[in-house]
Symmetry: D2
Subunit: 381 residues, 4 copies
């Protein structure tokens, strides 16, 4: 009997961080993949990730809309609740042997709560990491619900052990997102062609910046100001810039608004806005950019592997492990500009395997097929 | 400005474990109580706790039905999701400064998830305890979401510190449930008069047993068998017995069924079934019973304070702290009968302050009024 | 291409009124059956109808729990909302060509709302009937959403036309519930063997009564009193009595309570309580009983076909068409007793084809396969 | 005792059509207003109507987010379900004597279903009208649930009677939206100043067009094409144009996309896009425009009162009553252009009181205070 592994893909970021696992589960003789696509992965506004997933050859077992509009803390909570309700019905009908949940966002939490109340063994990637947002609390809460852990770094693994998780349930596999970067031909320069977006044309052979700044949900009220400073910094640097739309989260409406006003009012010739890239293309653009700016964890994670000079803004990645490729900056335009200039002068960094060596997917699939689960968890102390 | 403290009371057990805090918050000059009554606390089947709450003089700010019928793991997950959705709307409209969540059940989890996604500081009682059910995982997960902890025992407090919670956010107050027991006149013998229930009359001046056995959600499929053995044990002992209906949980339908069949088929003259007691009456009956049987944590908690001889059945309280008043038994009738007989021979134990000295409520209210919250949590390692 | 016909079966009553259609759709070469089992059809408390459905050889495409506990008007409304949300996800994934909804209860409404907002052609059975409860309003509201109507009687058909429905969308097929009665061997006397229930043994060869009384949701507050009078009447008649548990609805908790108290207090030797019968067995018992008492529409519908002497209590069936087999009684015990005695003296009535001739199922399937739908409805005046 | 009248305002359109009733209820000595603000009325994307409501001096009793993102038929159905669930809790806590629901959109349906299952008398405005979309079916379905009807036109009133509604429950009051238009100083030309929007400046002293085109949910798949033709027509006319963002509905995402592409690609100098106007400003702009284009019912309704030349596109208003001020056009650019040119040549029409004389609000309030409700509805035939 194959073990049925159900994975809920809920966003662009989710998909990038689990795709190599989906591939490995799909081809593993002892496993059967059950794929649920949910939340922003179904929405046009966030790049219609569902189409990408189908183009990549995955069969989707269930689609479920779970985002309650508003993009504020209240609707994030409500969306989590809605997701739990709907996923429970889906799990009831799919009857998975294992549910795999990715990282730390609200859909991840929903998946974790639904599976654990349903006594379905829960596996979790990216546990044990520390960061600066509600995501950290959520990630640790999911750890306490999960039966199987796939941390990305040695430090994260140690943290899981210290939190009282059974060492026999923890497998250091590296992060699956590195697998994709590792497989991608990151030297291509023609990746922008297939994307629309709005704004002027970027020539990827010349130095360009790449920006992705998400709202910090615990600093929700300050979002407009924060993104304003980053806009000011980019407007000072005036280099060709690829700017990516943020995740759906409390505050993303404010970011979208600020970006739209910037676009309408300043009409910045040097910026092109994109909703979404395929993961390999994202890695490729990251690899080729002169400096990556924002608060996306990809700067720390994939960035380390690629050696991309990156400027990390504000508190969102507070205390997250990072390699030498990252310089931190405050929310003010001046400190952002200074850091970016320093990084451009430095140029590319050495490859750093901090977050994995590119084989996480198949390692995870092997564990999913073989691990002996105990449904009743106990803290070790 | 008074701090608005919102408490969600969701079940009979919840209310008993937080009532003294509600009283202390209500009379504290720096606090304003916001009371939400939800879930089984609204249901006739579970003793209409809402009426008790009103009789006790509390004003209810919002009532919300959140239990999806089925009493299986799927509906528990769904009820959690529903509760999060509804509580988010309620918090949006009540705008509390602090949300206080009690213990470890699914409504507790829902309250915790809703509050933390809404950036409302979350306080939690009974963190750090270990037990044998999904409740343990849920309790630790809530700990990872909570900003303020009120553990009941020194050992629990230490566990919270070891899990990475900031010691400055942890206050050892004892369990509020002990406050009620401490205030109650536990020597009264006429408490049964006001309760209906079904079955023969119990004379509380003669030795009697008291039984409360909940389903173990992670052993959901075995519920019928487990309750069957306890029924067999009681049928062997044939002493006057007060039997309480279980909580709503995956499996409670099976317990109800078994009890009904027992009642219809055996027509046990010596047993009287009750849905619910007021907390003080519960403490009083517990205090006077010859032996308390089942898997309720009250045997360990209030039982320690009262020195009640108790037989704890099965895995539900696995590893939970207990005083000398508890003897563990397996699920089989023989071992239950043997343990009960041993306890009856022993009689009352000494008072043990393991779970508190009776002042938890006012200690908690004082902290709620004074604690300086940091909304962004960080693990300490 | 077969047309995919999705049917939502949500209760015991639902199943009896649609089973012959399910059979006919399943064997029709131009149709594919998609079966969703929901609500009380999944619950033990209501006789676990889902098992019956599987025993009858139907494959279930999706199961969904949607009843929010409380059995009051508020939870009925909430359950309707929950059902719409969940059914929308299910329809999104099953992609039916037609949705078929049965009669008039809240799950029926939910099915109708979900399908019509999703632009899925909606077929409806039992439209145009009048009765005395919220069900009547709901039934007419569903009519206004439905694209295809299968009324059971000529009078109902005329009412649909008068309400402005396009005559080309209305097919007078009779009620599918008659099909089952027509196929059943209603002379068997051994049907009670396989059912448990509680109470004394009924000998079906001797005259016996059959009682089924549902709460009237618009007279919600009066439920306890109403059922009390019926209990008093049965206690006066003291004949062997088969008593059936009511539907889940606002008020059913009160009925259950009253029946339990009756059972515990009066210990009526002559009554046996049952949760549920298979439909054919129900028809058989009905056929053999001396008098059917209560407010179930089956007394009017199947009762007409079988010629069963019936006493219809109170307002629930107000103005619903009925044959000569029915005598109406008020809610008071005296008038119930008098009517029952009159019916027993009269004995069996002639067969009346008012609600159908037993071929509704296949007629409906043929229409479903052939009807040309217009998704944009227009009132005819 | 004042009667508590609860009104759910769920969108920009809703508010305009009920504002004068809110005012009249608020000042009526026999009534108490309970105001729930929900759905798109809370969203920035749809003009933050909630702020307007507060500026107008109304106290909001409850806010509730109920839109599930996706803007397709599935999420419309799900949003309806979510709204029913949440409104039930709100009604449970507010305990209104009457619920008033406006017109025909999905939130209206949700309000109607929640209230009727909760046995709360339901009043409905704009019943009996016919149009070309799912809205028509929904409007008639709500009629079948409503206990009190306030149709806007004599023809609508007659249709309600023909559908079987009790004539004693129907009051011809005219449409409250006309009240606002009637009170507004519609000759002002400086209303645009306070609105941002994007695009070039419109000089309201020179002839300008006004466009508002909503998606037709039953022609969901054709939305992009439909809006494309209107864009083509406007691009041909090249007159100063005020273009309004559509309602949230299945398809509005497509319309938004098309408008954005139009703006980015064509950079039309003559168009200014607005999210929302205050109702009085809307009336004023309408009054002053050379021609109103689209499929908004305001062209027919307020348009008749103001005598605004209007071109009504496509099927959305099919069969709705209209005065002489409206010319119908197909979805193709050519027919739209021809009709607009004809209307501009014609200029203003005579005032037509078809939809009311401006006193609907106070008439409705008087009825709400005095009408004797029967909760059990019966069709009249």
């Amino acid at each position: 009997m194959k073990r049925k592994v159900c994975v809920v893909v809920a966003s662009r970021a989710n998909y990038g961080r689990i795709k190599s696992v989906l591939q490995a589960v799909k081809r593993h003789p002892g496993l059967e993949l059950q794929l649920v696509v949910a939340a922003s992965a179904l929405l046009y506004r966030f790049g219609n990730v569902v189409e990408l997933i189908e183009q990549d050859g995955f069969k989707i077992d269930s689609r479920v809309y779970i985002i309650i509009e508003g993009e504020n803390p209240t609707t994030m909570a409500k969306s989590t609740g809605l997701a739990i309700m709907e996923l429970a019905t889906i799990f009831e009908n799919l009857r998975p042997d294992i549910v795999l949940t990715v990282a730390d966002r609200f859909e991840t939490m929903a998946t974790a709560v639904a599976a654990s109340y349903m006594n379905i063994p829960l596996a979790h990637t990216q546990g044990g990491e520390v960061t600066g947002s509600i995501d950290e609390s959520v990630r640790h809460a999911i750890t306490k619900l999960a039966h199987l852990h796939f941390p990305a770094t040695a430090l994260s693994r140690d943290r899981l052990v210290r939190m009282g998780e059974d060492p026999a349930s923890i497998y250091l596999t590296g992060c699956p997102s590195i697998d994709i970067v590792c497989q991608a031909d990151v030297k291509r320069i023609d990746v922008l062609k297939k994307y629309g977006g709005v704004g002027s044309t970027i020539d990827p052979r010349k130095p360009f910046l790449m920006v992705l700044q998400h709202p910090v949900t615990t600093e929700y009220a300050d979002t407009l100001n924060q993104i304003g400073e980053t806009i000011k910094a980019v407007a000072t640097l005036k280099m060709p810039t690829i700017w990516l739309w943020p995740n759906v989260d409390a505050g993303s409406d404010d970011i979208s608004k600020a970006l739209r006003v910037f676009r309408e009012t300043d009409k910045p010739e040097y910026v092109h806005f994109y909703r979404n890239f395929e993961i390999a293309d994202y890695a490729c653009l990251m690899n080729n950019c002169a400096c990556f700016i924002g608060n996306s964890s990809s700067a720390l994670r994939e960035g380390a592997f690629l050696g991309v000079p990156a400027v990390n803004i504000g508190t969102r990645q507070n205390r997250r492990e990072r390699g030498k490729n990252v310089i931190d900056a405050g929310y003010d335009a001046d400190s952002i500009v200074a850091a970016v200039r320093k990084q451009i002068r430095h140029g590319k960094y050495e490859r750093d395997l901090l977050f994995g060596d590119g084989n996480a997917g198949s390692k995870i699939a092997d564990v999913l097929a073989a691990h002996a689960f105990t449904i009743q968890k106990q803290i070790t102390f």
